[in-house]
């Protein structure tokens, strides 16, 4: 599963990018850090023998979704808003505690669990065609549902985004 040094570097970048994304006061910075994070993860996908997913990650996430984010941030002019400190103290501590518990739990689990062998032969056929076959054979129904979901989302967005004044007139 790849070179450990490479993994550690990529992991470090991903984590740092994530932390920065959460910590940034400026929403635009956050968005950009998130893009960095997505890209790092896309590299990891490649290492994990998932080229198609990596490609989708970059095009859909880093491309389409993040552009949408940036667009909205700029549209609303909400780039500079509240940061971390403005959270209530209770919320902060509970959240931090829960996060620590979560991480600790997994740490315990990972340390205690039997180490898995990494002897993964690259026999997994994750080519787009194979993926496509899976998608349209075993998962054809969920796939169609996804289509419906997207349609619903599209209509929803259209409805929501209409001018309220106009909506009032229509109603």
């Amino acid at each position: 599963m790849g070179n450990p040094i490479l993994f550690l570097i990529l992991a470090a970048v991903a984590v740092i990018a994530a932390v920065m994304m959460v910590r940034s006061r400026n929403a635009i910075y956050s968005a950009l850090f998130l893009v960095l994070n997505f890209v790092t993860i896309a590299v990891l996908y490649l290492i994990l023998n998932a080229p198609f997913i990596a490609m989708v990650q970059i095009t859909v996430y880093a491309g389409a979704i993040m552009v949408l984010f940036l667009f909205v941030i700029m549209l609303l002019g909400a780039e500079k808003l509240q940061g971390f400190e403005e959270s209530s103290k209770g919320q902060l501590w509970i959240a931090a505690f829960l996060a620590v518990v979560l991480i600790a739990t997994f740490a315990v689990a990972l340390i205690q669990g039997d180490p898995s062998s990494s002897g993964a032969v690259a026999g997994l056929d994750s080519s787009p065609s194979n993926l496509g076959l899976h998608l349209f054979k075993a998962y054809v129904f969920p796939f169609e549902l996804t289509g419906v979901l997207l349609l619903a989302a599209m209509i929803g967005v259209v409805v929501l985004s209409r001018n309220s004044a106009k909506r009032g007139k229509d109603a």
Binding site: S87, Q91, L98, V101, F106, V108, A109
Partner: protein
């Protein structure tokens, strides 16, 4: 000649009489006093006489029937097939029952006739005769029944009539405003009921022992069981036959004590004198009170078996002997109490108690014939004495009435029965004086009057078989003569001590004629019944009847008294009454009687009081007077038992059942606690509890909701936090616990 088929008529006639008088008598009397009274009283008397005629018919039927008992079945009474209980209405005609029938109807008829005169002018004239006929009916059921239960019907029925007749003037009140007649009647009934309790128990015991209550069957199986020595079993109970019969006979004694006024239940009889005098004569002297003797004589077999078995009651005394002792003691005590009485009827009442004691004592000693003999003669002369006293009272009332009319001299306290107000009546009421004297002498036992023969037979029997009883009875006989002498002296001799006595007048012929008839019977009755069978010489009779049965009455009654035959067969040992005249006993008792009369006449009452207010000579002997004036049993009952019962019943009724059980337990404890609990429930538990629970849970929900609402900040981040919490919890669960 055989007329047994007519026997039921003896019961029918009194019923016709009572129904007619009950339904129509009042109308007759109200419509026309004079003829109505004659019609009402006459009809009742005719019915009584008709019954007497039937009784005589039965007498002759029996004679032609070799004196064999005859049972006439009428119809079934209580029949419980599965319990094998079968009790018929059936009439038994035998020499004993016919004797009783004749006494009852004979004396009864005379008293009916007498009563027409005595009750003249009473507003409830016809009711009186209804009661008299009813009494006759029940008394005849008592003596004619062929089983104990029928006897008991009559037994209770005559008790009822006694109650009704004592309470005939139920609206009379005494000085204290108490309804004395009603009270006296009630006392009589209740005292009788005490005896009835014993009768019921005895009958039930006999039923389970013998499986029947018919006289003949009971006696027969009693003898069989006794001979075979079987145990008596019923239910889980078992005992020997003599033990059971001891219980039965002791209970009979108790029953007889109630009805025949023996110790300790005699207390009702003196009070019963509150009733009209004919009633005292008929019921409380001649007939009803003798039914206890009839019962014992009727059950002679049972008594003799007990005597023969040697079974003792509580290990002390044979129940048959107990009968004798009870009778003798009663005779003595009552005879002594009679000394202290001033009421003319009460003297006679105690005398009756005393004479009944004689009879009971005789029956208890096994002298059944002597008991019956005395019963018959006593019916004559005591009936005579009571009717005579009624005549005296009537005369005194007449005198008082005359007085009240004459000079407006009216004193309400006048008591026409008080002997202290009488005196010198022999000139005013000549016929009454003569017959009364005959009666008194007969009662005292002066030769050759009826009382002499019968009393002497009892004494002779006692002299031979039971000295203690003989002694007591002899003293009692002495007492009898003394108090009769005292009474004669106080009533008829000397000078009138009250204006009323001076104006007393002889009663109407309707009243005097029955007196003469009874006087005649009192003179010759004893002698006639005591005659040997005229067909047999003394020696012949003695030979033919080794147990000593040769007198007329004995020859007649032996057919009903099975103990004679059993004695001949050697099953029981009936102590036989001496066959020959006993000069020793007879002489002594005659001397005593004459002596007592003279004592009363010459010594004690020689210087008799001259006015009504003066003290009785006997009162000067303090010990005697106080002792007998205290009326031992009367005091015990009236001052001890009855107040105790009243207190107990008031306590039970008002305090225990009312205050404690009803008010306290139910009201206070149960209801109030319930109400308390309920209001606690309603006000506290329900408002705060159930309601409170509902409201409270609502409140709690509200409070909780408020609490939770605080978490519902509406801030998405808070919600997210809880989602995250859940997610972490799930992870923790899966990692640590799911395996």
């Amino acid at each position: 000649m055989n007329a047994f088929g007519l026997a039921p008529l003896i019961l029918v006639f009194p019923v016709i009489g009572l129904l007619l008088n009950g339904f129509f008598g009042r109308r007759f009397v109200d419509a026309d006093r004079k003829t109505g009274e004659k019609l009402s009283g006459g009809f009742a008397s005719v019915m009584a006489l008709s019954s007497f005629a039937i009784a005589v018919l039965m007498f002759f039927s029996l004679r032609s029937h070799e004196f064999h008992a005859e049972v006439i079945n009428l119809f079934n009474w209580i029949v419980v097939p599965s319990a094998k209980l079968q009790i018929p209405w059936a009439i038994q005609v035998d020499t004993l029952s016919v004797t009783m029938m004749m006494v009852v109807t004979g004396v009864g008829s005379l008293i009916h006739i007498y009563a027409i005169g005595y009750m003249h002018g009473d507003p409830n004239f016809s009711r009186f005769f209804t009661y008299l006929n009813l009494f006759l009916f029940f008394m005849l059921i008592l003596v004619t029944g062929n089983n104990f239960l029928m006897l008991f019907v009559g037994w209770e029925g005559v008790g009822l009539c006694s109650y009704l007749l004592i309470g005939f003037w139920f609206d009379r009140v005494d000085k204290n405003g108490l309804p004395m007649n009603a009270n006296a009647g009630r006392k009589a009934f209740v005292a009788n009921r005490v005896g009835d309790l014993a009768m019921i128990l005895a009958m039930i015991l006999m039923f389970w022992t013998f499986g029947t209550l018919e006289f003949n069957t009971v006696f027969q199986s009693a003898v069989e069981l006794f001979e075979e020595g079987h145990m008596v079993h019923f239910g889980l109970f078992s005992a020997t036959l003599p033990a059971v019969l001891t219980a039965v006979t002791a209970l009979f004694l108790m029953g007889a004590a109630g009805k025949s006024a023996q110790i300790p239940l005699y207390i009702w009889l003196p009070d019963a004198m509150a009733g009209p005098t004919p009633v005292s004569a008929l019921i409380h002297a001649a007939t009803m009170v003798t039914s206890g003797i009839y019962l014992i004589v009727r059950s002679n077999v049972l008594f003799e078996i007990v005597r023969a078995s040697g079974e003792l009651l509580f290990g002390i005394v044979s129940s048959a002997d107990l009968v004798a002792y009870t009778g003798a003691a009663t005779a003595l005590v009552a005879g002594l109490i009679a000394f202290t009485q001033f009421d003319i009827k009460k003297v006679l009442a105690y005398s009756t108690v005393s004479q009944l004691g004689f009879m009971i004592a005789a029956a208890g000693m096994g002298a059944y014939v002597a008991a019956m003999f005395h019963l018959i003669t006593h019916a004559f002369f005591k009936g005579l004495l009571f009717l005579g006293s009624g005549s005296v009272i009537h005369g005194m009332e007449h005198g008082h009435h005359h007085l009240a009319h004459g000079d407006d001299h009216h004193d309400d306290d006048f008591d026409p029965q008080d002997m202290r107000t009488m005196g010198g009546l022999r000139h005013k009421m000549n016929s009454t004086f003569i017959v009364y004297t005959i009666g008194a002498l007969a009662l005292s036992g002066i030769f050759p009057l009826a009382g002499f023969w019968s009393k002497d037979e009892i004494l002779a029997h006692g002299g031979e078989h039971n000295f203690a009883v003989y002694l007591m009875l002899t003293i009692a006989a002495f007492c009898t003569a003394f108090y009769m002498g005292r009474q004669l002296q106080m009533v008829f001799f000397g000078k009138p001590r009250h204006a009323a006595a001076e104006h007393a007048e002889e009663s109407s012929p309707l009243m005097v004629i029955p007196l003469w008839i009874l006087a005649g019977l009192s003179v010759v009755g004893g002698f006639l019944l005591n005659l040997p069978f005229l067909t047999e010489s003394l020696a012949e009779a003695n030979h033919n009847h080794p147990t000593g049965i040769f007198l007329a009455l004995e020859g007649w009654l032996e057919h009903s008294i099975q103990a004679f035959h059993l004695s001949e067969e050697g099953i029981v040992h009936l102590p036989h009454t001496p066959i020959v005249f006993s000069p020793m006993v007879a002489g002594l008792s005659t001397v005593l009687a004459v002596g007592a009369l003279l004592l009363a006449f010459k010594l004690v009452y020689r210087d008799r009081p001259q006015t009504a207010d003066e003290r009785d000579p006997l009162e000067k002997i303090p010990f005697v007077w106080k002792f007998f004036a205290a009326l031992p049993f009367e005091t015990l009952f009236m001052k001890g038992f009855i107040p105790l019962f009243n207190k107990a019943s008031h306590w039970l009724g008002h305090t225990l059942d009312g205050t404690i059980w009803h008010d306290f337990v139910h009201e206070r404890v149960i209801r109030d606690n319930f109400v308390g609990f309920a209001s606690f429930s309603a006000d506290v538990l329900d408002t705060n509890g159930v309601d409170g629970l509902v409201n409270g849970s609502a409140k709690a929900v509200k409070r909780l909701a408020n609490l939770i609402r605080r978490s519902q900040t509406g801030y998405a981040r808070n919600y997210a936090l809880s989602v995250f919490l859940g997610a972490v919890a799930l992870v923790v669960y899966f990692v640590y616990m799911a395996n």
